[in-house]
């Protein structure tokens, strides 16, 4: 094929062929254009909504905004749980010219440790350049001030504030309020299960223990959203929309912080708990467990050293003793006496002889009274006044364990009181069935006798005692103990004369306890009144000279078992085996406004009257203040000035 070869060409035939082929090509071009256009039409018209949605979901992002947690007040409006700003120092790398130099300078100014700087550079690597990275998580006020003055020197470095929980009364309220702590994986899983994760997307902490935990849903509030436009890197370009969060509800508690302070002072140096409640409502006035700990430590994340110290303390500060079981000892004698009357095994006038010991027929064991030579002839009232063990051994024997535990369960022993914190223990109300289930053993009559003086397996929480006592002073009307008085929307209790629950749904109402003979209430209550008011009765001394008319019952619980014929001597017994002191009280006698239960562990000397009763009195003195409550039975009207007690007989 030579390029120079001369060919005879049919020009017009060639032109025709070319024109045909060109036309075919052109038809192809038009066809392809139609396909392209059809495809774009499909995308832009047929699937427009789909792609518009996807385009928006590309660029629009919802940034969660955490709601402010509801505040908590005491009954008089004193702030118990606050939200305080915590300042952190943050850096946006993109806005800093020389990041190394800038961090060095600002660290020098604010005295930021090299560890924090190292941590900062490490976390900076994993973040986008326009996202803030934390250099210091908790600046002091001084550091904030110092930085503010010098801020112009550090572009890209700024202070950011976040609200964190703060408990101004520190350890005084921890056992009641609990605390808010950082949401951990377990919390997150639980929130996920409950379908609440979305609402917690921006939330830092969650209620752990106490009121903070129980009313988490009320306190937390509803999340808000900032709708922003972002680019492909996630950088916020502008805000499109803002839905503000709904703050959590503020709570008002029934607690009286001044009373709580007195309770703490009265318990200082002791291990124990006190619960004071309004029997008209069930509202807790004071509830304090000593020793306590500072809940604020947990808000920022407690150091492992501090936590270990709390965990390993012999005094067990982490335990809320108000809701832990103690052997009730003689404090339950009024309830047992009422059971005897109800079951007709005794009458108010039935007398037995107390020689100082009690013995079951055919058994060698001797059950001793606290008074070696006995109380002589004893009826029900005297048995309570003097806390006569022999009377109650006999009563318990006559009743039997089943009747006792049935009645005690109606007073709420061995069950949750229903208080609005989750840390409550049921404690133990022993019964035949309980022992079978627990130990797989049958019940012994000797154990019934011990139950008769509030020992054996029987344990009660101070809170259960206040609840049972409330039922007693209310002549069978039962109240559910509670800490919440109101939140910002609804009032649970109204104050003033009409004490009643406006929203009973919050607290499940309990069926009242009715007696065959309603007069028996007063028999027992009067005996308790005598216990405090009658010269020589077990709780007479600690309540001498009150302006209000108190009633009560003491108790001393053996923690260690004492062998037959062995005498208890506190000094010779190791500290953790010494007796517990117990006391329950209410006042005024005619129209009770306050019921109190006190438990003190391992007292060095004496029992309920010398250790626990004075604690209860301090709280009552504070409660009544200068109010003078007169009544016909009050000892103010009895001439007691002549009566001098020369020798103290330790009661119980």
């Amino acid at each position: 094929m030579s390029p120079r070869r001369v060919v005879i060409r049919n020009q017009s035939a060639e032109a025709n062929l070319f024109a045909r082929r060109t036309f075919i090509a052109f038809a192809g071009v038009v066809l392809v254009l139609l396909i392209l256009f059809g495809n774009v039409f499909n995308l832009q018209v047929e699937s427009f909504e789909k792609y518009q949605t996807r385009s928006n979901s590309n660029r629009i992002k919802l940034l969660p905004v955490a709601p402010n947690r509801g505040l908590i007040y005491d009954r008089n409006g004193v702030l118990l749980a606050d939200n305080k700003p915590v300042y952190s120092l943050e850096v946006i790398a993109e806005d800093v010219d020389d990041i190394k130099d800038s961090i060095e300078q600002v660290s020098l100014l604010l005295n930021i440790s090299p560890e924090r700087q190292t941590k900062f550079f490490k976390s900076m690597k994993s973040k986008r350049r326009f996202k803030p990275v934390e250099l210091h998580s908790r600046l002091s006020d001084q550091q904030v001030a110092l930085f503010s003055v010098n801020q112009h020197k550090f572009p890209g470095v700024f202070v950011s504030a976040r609200l964190k929980r703060y408990y101004p009364f520190s350890d005084l309220t921890t056992h009641n309020l609990g605390y808010v702590a950082r949401i951990n994986r377990k919390d997150a899983n639980k929130l996920e299960q409950e379908g609440k994760s979305e609402n917690y997307a921006a939330t830092y902490g969650i209620g752990r223990l106490g009121i903070e935990r129980y009313y988490e849903d009320m306190l937390h509030g509803t999340i808000g959203h900032q709708e922003v436009e972002i680019n492909n890197q996630g950088r916020v370009i502008r805000t499109l929309n803002y839905t503000p969060p709904v703050p959590g509800k503020d709570l008002t508690l029934t607690l009286d912080i001044e009373l709580q302070m007195i309770a703490k002072r009265a318990l200082s140096g002791k291990r124990g708990a006190i619960v004071a409640m309004d029997p008209r409502t069930g509202g807790i006035l004071a509830m304090y467990s000593n020793p306590s700990y500072d809940g604020n430590l947990f808000v920022h994340g407690i150091s492992s050293k501090n936590y270990k110290k709390l965990l390993e303390s012999k005094d067990l500060p982490l335990i809320n003793r108000s809701v832990q079981g103690y052997p009730p000892a003689s404090t339950v004698k009024p309830f047992l006496a009422l059971t005897g009357l109800e079951e007709n095994v005794v009458t108010p006038t039935t007398e037995i002889h107390d020689p100082g010991w009690y013995q079951l027929d055919g058994l060698p064991n001797k059950y001793r009274d606290w008074k070696p030579w006995g109380h002589g002839m004893v009826n029900l009232t005297k048995a309570i006044e003097q806390s006569c063990n022999i009377y109650f051994y006999d009563l318990a024997f006559k009743l039997g364990i089943t009747k006792i535990s049935n009645m005690m369960e109606r007073f709420g022993f061995g069950d949750y009181t229903g208080i609005d914190i989750h840390e409550e223990s049921k404690a133990i109300m022993p019964s035949v069935a309980w022992k079978r289930a627990r130990y797989n053993k049958s019940w012994y009559t000797g154990e019934t006798l011990s139950v008769g003086i509030g020992q054996s397996y029987w344990t009660v929480t101070p809170l259960q005692l206040t609840q049972a006592l409330t039922t007693l002073v209310n002549h069978g009307e039962r109240k559910v103990p509670h800490l919440l008085k109101a939140n910002s929307e609804l009032i649970i209790e109204s104050s003033g004369n009409a004490y009643h629950q406006i929203t009973p749904t919050i607290y499940e109402p309990r069926a009242p306890l009715t007696l065959k003979n309603e007069e028996n209430w007063d028999v027992v209550l009067k005996a308790m009144h005598n216990t405090v008011q009658k010269f020589g009765a077990t709780a007479y001394r600690p309540f001498k000279g009150t302006t209000y008319d108190a009633s009560g019952k003491t108790g001393s619980a053996q923690v260690a078992r004492i062998k037959q014929d062995e005498k208890y001597d506190a000094k010779a017994t190791s500290e953790n085996k010494r007796d517990n002191a117990m006391f329950i009280a209410f006042a005024p006698f005619d129209k009770p406004e306050i019921v109190i239960a006190v438990a003190i562990e391992n007292v060095a000397k004496g029992g309920g009257a010398t250790n626990a009763a004075p604690v209860a009195r301090q709280v009552m003195d504070q409660y009544f203040g200068d109010r003078v409550i007169t009544s016909q039975t009050h000892r103010a009207k009895v001439n007691v000035k002549t009566a001098t007690v020369t020798k103290h007989q330790e009661a119980d």
């Binding site: 094929m1 390029p3 070869r5 060919v7 005879i8 060409r9 049919n10 035939a13 060639e14 032109a15 062929l17 070319f18 024109a19 082929r21 060109t22 090509a25 052109f26 071009v29 038009v30 392809v32 254009l33 396909i35 392209l36 256009f37 495809n39 774009v40 039409f41 995308l43 832009q44 018209v45 699937s47 427009f48 789909k50 792609y51 518009q52 996807r54 385009s55 928006n56 590309n58 660029r59 436009e229 972002i230 680019n231 492909n232 890197q233 370009i237």
Partner: protein
């Protein structure tokens, strides 16, 4: 009316002398101007990008003008030596080429860096047009076979760089010449059959991993929406969300917020569709159709087989750009690096295209003075 007719006659003559085909120029200028607006929007509203694009346009127009002055038969004369030189350059690219973006495409001559494959886009159609126009049309089978081999040589060398887009364009420029030269339909069907048989071989032995991935991604982009499927998905979102009227110039969220990759280069059609909608797309396709029609008109009216074939091939290859680019960004074709002709940012391909249009203008305007 008469005077205006006279003016027209005069201008026509003036443009003739300048060797400029006015309708074609108007079509091209429309596309170039649109490109300026679009790279401003797609390039993050950076005026510097627009200046650079404007400079390239200036160079390209100048190049087109110069090329248009050369009588087309000069190309026929130089076809063989230039083709041989081009092949040598392609070989040297593979041997000493400058590596950019994972492919060897650039040749550094010390004073200038350029892509021989770009020049081959012009040389190959010239060469094949010269080759098949030796005999009278329609082409004989033996000529077709030899022409195919001539096309295949540069195509494979470029595919080896690897540059799938350019090799595709070069192959089609050659094939268009053969088609327009009247290759028999039987032969064409045989070739199509052969090509289909070649696909598995291509897949198994010749294609690189990333190229296979592109094809897989094309078949199912949602399979890896954040990885290999990201580009095409974001592009379809951009186009689809534009709707009928579009979001408005500079208002396309997909491009302004940088969800769209390669916005001012290969994916500029997505930016255009997002901001100007279906109406804009229809207008743009109409302009492209106009340019193609004018190019084919020039081809049909050319006086020699060589110039006819060359003009037809250049025009249709230009359209291949349009088809492949729009097809790939709208999800009809796998992603191969082909720009939207004259609109995309990127000087090299634009200059080559404009040189091609220079040749078309030469064919259009020189015919009356030639021979």
């Amino acid at each position: 009316m008469r005077s205006s007719g006279q003016d027209q006659q005069k201008t026509h003559t003036l443009w003739q002398r300048l060797h400029i085909d006015v309708p074609l120029l108007l079509g091209l200028l429309t596309l170039l101007a649109l490109g300026l607006f679009l790279v401003y929007s797609a390039g993050g509203q950076d005026i510097a990008v627009v200046y650079r694009k404007a400079r390239s346009i200036g160079v390209a127009l100048l190049g087109m003008f110069i090329v248009a002055q050369i009588p087309p038969l000069v190309y026929r004369k130089w076809a063989v030596p230039v083709f041989v030189l081009g092949l040598l350059m392609l070989v040297s690219v593979l041997l000493f080429g400058h590596v950019g973006k994972g492919a060897q495409r650039w040749l550094d001559l010390g004073f200038i860096k350029f892509q021989p494959s770009e020049i081959m886009k012009l040389i190959v159609p010239i060469m094949i047009a010269w080759f098949v126009s030796q005999d009278s049309l329609p082409v004989k089978i033996s000529t077709v076979v030899l022409a195919f081999i001539l096309v295949l040589l540069p195509t494979l060398l470029i595919a080896k760089q690897p540059d799938l887009g350019t090799s595709l364009l070069i192959a089609s420029s050659g094939i268009f010449v053969i088609f327009l030269a009247g290759a028999s339909w039987r032969l064409i069907s045989a070739c199509v059959g052969l090509a289909s048989a070649f696909v598995p071989i291509l897949w198994m032995f010749l294609m690189k991993g990333y190229q296979k991935q592109r094809v897989l991604t094309f078949l199912n982009p949602e399979q890896d929406p954040l990885g290999s499927g990201y580009h095409i998905i974001q592009s379809k979102i951009a186009i689809g969300s534009g709707g009928i009227e579009g979001k408005g110039w500079l208002q396309g969220t997909q491009s302004q917020l940088e969800f769209l990759p390669e916005r001012h280069t290969d994916f500029i059609f997505s930016v255009f569709s997002e901001e100007f909608g279906l109406i804009g797309v229809a207008a743009l396709l109409a302009v492209y159709l106009f340019v193609v029609m004018r190019g084919l008109w020039i081809a049909v009216n050319a006086q020699h087989a060589f110039t006819k074939l060359l003009a037809g091939s250049l025009t249709l290859t230009f359209f291949v750009y349009v088809f492949v680019n729009i097809g790939m960004v709208s999800g009809l074709l796998p992603v191969v690096g082909v720009p939207l002709p004259l609109v995309s940012y990127g000087g090299t391909s634009m200059v080559t295209l404009m040189l091609g249009f220079g040749i078309l203008m030469a064919i259009s305007t020189h015919r009356r003075f030639h021979v």
